[in-house]
Symmetry: C2
Subunit: 350 residues, 2 copies
């Protein structure tokens, strides 16, 4: 979970997660639908002005402006007691939306994304999820729960929410839902991922165009659009050659780059099973973050992927591993070993 | 919900939906994980043989074979009391998986797919969902709940399950989730859609290739793969021209046709906002069913779409309408009017 935003007067943390407001919310254990301020009486809430600006400490160099549009969930302590909207839009213009990810990568010296694809019976899974998170947190640049593995079990949404809550502050959680629908629908998926589950990012499918991606590009959120995936289907759309040159994956990468330039926070999903594609897409998108599945059970080549995809600063890649960690007998050791392997193959900027 | 399968000796309905087993399941109100037979004692269950074949009445010309792999949920009454597996695979080879849909279209003289994209507060939504289903069932060839609109609210999965249960027998429910992930993950989404929610079909996204589609092609299930969608993004991947000729949407349609030939039950999603694309894809896929969103709020032209997309038998299209019905004051009248409009524009085979 990402944090770092604090009220400059009270020093209290700004909580951007509905699910994490439990202890302070008057609304009880469910995600609160309204911001909560200590000692604040709902009856005396004044009208919300059309615009207002709050500066936070430069922990993530963020400036927030509000407008009467979307809900946000934010605990602002006694910082801003005179203005408390029913629904507000939270718009951040940090120095770069991926800055939080880079902060974590640099602070923990790791590119490891811990994939959470739980299999097993319910009791086993809940225990193992907690174990994997606790034992790999030290080594994780991010966590990536896959939505399908939660939805396919009873009370999967609740388990997913609890899983995200367990991730320590400062480590982004990317909900791997490969969402892709028209804008109106995508907005509902974004509410699910960010407001109900409390994720810090998502994966999205670009087949339906920018409509399907932009609604996820909320301030400070990390969006990874599929470009070249790690599977090797018989009928691959991603490899079809376009008359304008390049493959569909290249075209998807260009779209993601343009959207990143406009909205910020948009990276790519690029599988480790094809290092040539990693290199080609890195040439097309020199600055963007790549979420890289396919190392481990799917047979991707770690060294070749790092050579092909690292940015000159030794970052820009999130290397995902799911099954190898889930099945490890000593999970912490397995995660440490993976991080050490990666760090031997890249320049680590301290 | 689809049904029509009956035990030839007892005449009892075969229930393929976990959620509909409530009244007969010893396991209580949750989906039962084991088949249930009246008067059958779990303690005395014999071992399940490696293979066995049951013939049902030719209501849908289905032949079922079992193997020790996947769970199925089937109430077989006193038909097959000596063999009761813990987990079985149910594999049907009906004359055509889309036959159930055609049966409904022909029996109710309708091409209308009722989209369920609920908006509003929780109590309002539950009441309105029930109203829309009850008032449009007579006119509905299928129902199509959109996953995003359920996930974006508290207890959305439970609401979705109850919604699917409310749909009368014989009307297929297509869960619009636009799922698209590698095979292992897609299998989990299929379990969610079919086994937990109880849907009869899904929509899928072909960007990740056939891996992402095939796991949904279970016997008797309806799978609609995105080809040309109804939205008009600035950066459209679907319209990019391929060196092999045609657009990406055409390529996706060809993949879906090949998969339909191999696995059966695979149709296309083709938006009504572009009748030329409907005509082009109909030429490429003369036999497949098209699920057609975009009529109504999105501005699609109903008459042009029907002219472009109907098969010679006057079927082959499922015309989806969501918002126009959800917002109607007289929902039944609105549905009837839509069906009458469509039937005036097509040959109805009685």
């Amino acid at each position: 979970m990402m944090s770092g935003l604090r009220c400059p007067s009270s020093g209290r943390a700004a909580c951007l997660r509905p699910a994490t407001c439990r202890t302070t919310c008057a609304a009880g254990p469910r995600p609160c639908r309204l911001p909560v301020v200590s000692g604040w009486s709902p009856a005396s809430r004044p009208a919300w002005p059309p615009s207002a600006v709050i500066w936070f400490r430069p922990a993530c160099s963020a400036k927030f402006s509000f407008a009467n549009r979307l809900r946000c969930w934010i605990e602002i302590g006694d910082f801003y007691p005179r203005l408390m909207p029913r629904e507000v839009k939270l718009r951040a213009t940090p120095s770069h939306p991926m800055q939080t990810l880079l902060n974590r990568v640099q602070a923990a010296h790791t590119l490891l994304c811990v994939g959470l694809d739980p299999v097993g019976d319910d009791a086993q899974v809940a225990r193992r999820l907690a174990e994997v998170i606790d034992q790999t947190s030290e080594y994780a640049a991010a966590f990536k729960p896959n939505l399908a593995f939660f939805l396919s079990r009873e009370n999967g949404v609740q388990l997913l929410r609890e899983t995200v809550q367990r991730v320590p502050d400062g480590i982004p959680v990317i909900l791997d839902g490969k969402f892709g629908d028209i804008a109106n629908t995508a907005d509902h998926y974004a509410r699910f991922a960010y407001d109900i589950i409390g994720a810090d990012g998502v994966t999205v499918n670009p087949y339906m165009g920018d409509d399907a991606i932009v609604p996820f590009a909320r301030p400070g959120k990390l969006v990874f659009a599929l470009a070249k995936t790690s599977n090797k289907p018989t009928h691959s759309l991603q490899d079809v050659a376009l008359t304008r040159g390049g493959s569909l994956a290249d075209c998807a990468a260009r779209v993601a780059r343009q959207l990143d330039e406009q909205h910020g926070g948009i990276g790519l999903v690029v599988g480790a099973t094809n290092p040539e594609a990693v290199a080609r897409l890195r040439a097309l998108c020199p600055d963007q973050w790549f979420l890289v599945p396919g190392v481990g059970a799917q047979g991707g080549d770690l060294a070749a992927t790092l050579r092909a995809g690292l940015r000159p600063d030794g970052t820009g890649l999130l290397i995902n591993t799911s099954r190898a960690l889930w099945q490890a007998t000593d999970t912490a050791a397995a995660a440490r070993e993976l991080v050490e392997q990666m760090n031997q193959l890249r320049p680590v900027v301290v």
